[in-house]
Amino acid sequence: MDRELSFEEAIEELEEITNKMEKGEIPLEKSIELYEKAKKLIKFCEDKLSNVEKRIKELKKDENGNFYLKDIEEIDEESD
């Protein structure tokens, strides 16, 4: 299964591309390709940031020992 790129990896790749571009010495076609790639990565990150639906989940195990996530709606207002 193709794992989705993580935010961390996206930033790392951005950093890498920026370094390459700043160093120069790459063919023009390649630089256009890299620039397009970087723009896509930035867009990817911005999309992640604007995804603000509240997501609080509880990690649980079913009877077969498989993990699943259960949505948590509210946390009780009780102090420890």
Partner: protein, 402 residues
């Protein structure tokens, strides 16, 4: 030596006042360990007892306001640790401890156990910097281990929702107090590692006594934190509380809220980072394009290109010749056509005027020139008149007035 009679002679009150000041000003509140004897709980609510060891004893008084929270089984023979300050009772000339807190010495063993465990794990290298995992800069999935109904969890959720509403919170609830807490915490750490899809784990608990926080000083908890492949940030108790878990953790935050705070970057911060990349990339790209332009100019100067340009130029000259030649032949053709055209047009003209003559017109000529007007003709001119079917000759004998 001064005269003895001139020396200041103190009263009992005065010396007791001096002793009081010296003692009370110089000995700060402190912990003293010993065994209780002469224990008396007065009807007033105050408690009186002595604290002793093998060789000495000291009087203690604990006022009612502090006495409420003393351990249940306090009494003669119990080893305790008391916290308070030394005070001098001037009237009696005695000093005693004004006790604010009593702890059973058995419980104080926790402190000893803590120190022992800390030393052991330190020597084993569990706290070493080189074993600490790097904290991810942009975690999007935050694992949280804490009690589900705890204030700590609410604090964490509040901070994360405010600073980084884009993150996902994956809670693995765990007991954080009591006998089973250490096992549950270990299991929670293991399960989050097994699950794998979190970038970081916050291990948190609100404030409490050393007993309340004890699970975080347990060796199995320390080892589970050490073995975790996912970085762990602890936020246990208050600022002043340090647990073994804090020392082993990849990062220690003073409180649960602080743990959440250091775990994530705010949205504005990250947007700033992205903007900087965008700027740097555009700058670099523009520079690459400019460099290319520069290179193109250099190529223009190069021998190879010059040769190429020469070839083109040569071809161009050849081309011009072709055009020239083409033009000449075209011109020739054109001239021929023009001549043909004028020839035909003359023929057309000559055939046409005869049709006009048939309709009754006559052309008058003098020496071959057509007379177009009366004024062109003089008296006695000899004119040739052309009819459609032939010519006649005549002489003008009169210019008739209109």
């Amino acid at each position: 030596m001064s005269n003895q009679s001139e020396e200041k002679i103190l009263t009992v009150s005065e010396i007791n006042r001096i002793v009081k000041e010296i003692i009370e000003d110089n000995i700060p509140p402190l912990w003293i360990t010993g065994e209780i004897s002469n224990y008396k709980a007065h009807i007033s609510g105050h408690i009186y007892f002595s604290l002793k060891d093998e060789n000495a004893q000291i009087s203690c008084i604990m006022f009612k306001s502090y006495a409420k929270n003393i351990p249940e089984n306090i009494g003669n023979g119990i080893k305790v640790r008391v916290y308070g300050e030394i005070g001098v009772y001037e009237k009696g000339g005695v000093y005693q401890i004004y006790v604010k807190e009593i702890r059973e010495e058995g419980k104080g063993d926790l402190q000893i156990a803590f120190e022992k465990m800390k030393r052991k794990l330190f020597e084993e290298g569990l706290f070493a910097e080189e074993h600490k995992l790097p904290i991810p800069e942009y975690p999007m999935k935050i694992g949280v281990i804490t009690a589900i109904q705890a204030a700590a969890l609410r604090d964490i959720i509040n901070v994360l929702s405010r600073r980084a509403p884009f993150v996902e919170i994956i809670l693995r609830p765990a007991q954080v107090q009591g006998e089973q807490a250490k096992f549950d915490i270990v299991k929670a750490i293991d399960e989050l590692n097994e699950y794998g899809d979190v970038d970081i784990i916050l291990l948190a608990r609100g404030g409490g006594s050393i007993e309340d926080l004890w699970a975080f000083n347990e060796e199995i908890v320390a080892r589970a934190i050490y073995d975790s492949k996912i970085p762990i940030i602890t936020g246990v108790g208050h600022e002043i509380d340090f647990t073994i878990a804090d020392f082993v953790a990849d990062l220690r935050a003073p409180t649960p809220s602080a743990a959440a705070e250091v775990a994530v970057r705010s949205r504005q911060e990250i947007e700033g980072v992205l903007l900087n990349y965008e700027k740097a990339l555009s700058r670099a790209f523009v520079k690459i394009l400019n460099d290319y332009n520069g290179k193109l100019n250099i190529y223009k100067e190069s021998y190879a290109l010059k040769k190429f340009v020469d070839i083109v130029r040569q071809r161009r000259i050849d081309l011009d010749r072709y055009v020239e030649r083409a033009n000449i032949s075209l011109l020739r053709t054109l001239n021929e056509k023009v001549r043909e055209l004028s020839f035909f047009s003359k023929r057309v003209e000559s055939t046409n005027y005869k049709n006009i003559l048939k309709r009754g017109f006559v052309i008058a000529r003098r020496d071959g020139n057509i007379m177009k007007a009366r004024k062109d003709v003089n008296l006695y001119d000899r004119l040739i008149f052309e009819f459609y079917d032939g010519k006649i000759r005549g002489i003008v004998d009169k210019k008739i007035k209109e």
